[in-house]
Symmetry: C2
Subunit: 206 residues, 2 copies
Amino acid sequence: MNVITISREFGSGGRELGKRLADYLNYDYYDSEIISMLAEKCGMDDGYIENVLGKNGLKEYNFTFRNTIRSAVYSQKVKVNLLVRQKKVIEGIAALGRNCVIVGRNADVILEESKPFSIFVCADTETKLMRCRERASADEKLTDRQIIRSMKQIDGARKEYRELVTGSAWGERSAYNLTINTTGWNIKELIPATAEFAHSRFRRER
Amino acid sequence: MNVITISREFGSGGRELGKRLADYLNYDYYDSEIISMLAEKCGMDDGYIENVLGKNGLKEYNFTFRNTIRSAVYSQKVKVNLLVRQKKVIEGIAALGRNCVIVGRNADVILEESKPFSIFVCADTETKLMRCRERASADEKLTDRQIIRSMKQIDGARKEYRELVTGSAWGERSAYNLTINTTGWNIKELIPATAEFAHSRFRRER
């Protein structure tokens, strides 16, 4: 079984790279699928889970009269519980024994024993902004400043989850096999070379 | 003209990767050749230049009775002068208009207008230590601690030169097209995939 994992900065095109790579290699692909599997397992709604594991990471920002410390602590427990269950879902995917690409959720560390080929995808701020603007629906009129704040918040949460789950720093070059900067590329142009890297890796592991 | 630049952590195998890549692609290769060209230009000895631009970066560590602040300032001037001349040597290489691989010396930034394909090479400490031990001659009996100190010093100097020349951080993922972690690979296994990345890049630039 060959596992490729993708970690990424928000807006860098990591998800598209993962999807295209899976199509190119004819591998299974997991991204939001993991949330759906988790939702089904917990009898919860996809949207609720995405919201809980969303961009605020483990922090609670809104200590208001109605959102007391007690409710914040409860909310932390829910998050940690969901992270544990998410880990099990990812282990279940690996147990299927099929070649796959998994985007996000620290799958590289969770599946360390399967020796995944781990990729980190980044881009410069302008590239990420452009991608976010393209993806935004017509009624989402965010300013660049708002998008950048949102990007930072989401990447911050990813960093925090990674440190919680793995102890290793998010985006740190030595934590991944390959770091791809998508600035100045169309994602699809990167696929054959990325696949070649993965192939070299899997040849070596056998 | 296609230019590939390699920046690297000391001991990560960046130089070997650059050399093998140049051979594979039939490109010209520049590494210590730059020092020789610079030495010839300045009427100086290769060893002297390597020493001046060596692992202490721009810092002067030895403020002793004989090595006063004044001599330190003079030594800084010599270094900066050599860096300026080195930049000209690198520009001269590009002016030849031939495909080439250049290792180190911030060639990616100096030759920015030639749109080089820029690679950063890293590895974990154990891998780098192993490589340094293999390379060391029989009469160099350094302890691991000494090697690690030396690695840090050399990487520190590279970081410092980069910041001086470019203002951008050394090893920062968004400053390179591709960051390759050589941990767990034989360098030669990485060459076809790396070449494929470079090809995709150069196809795009045309």
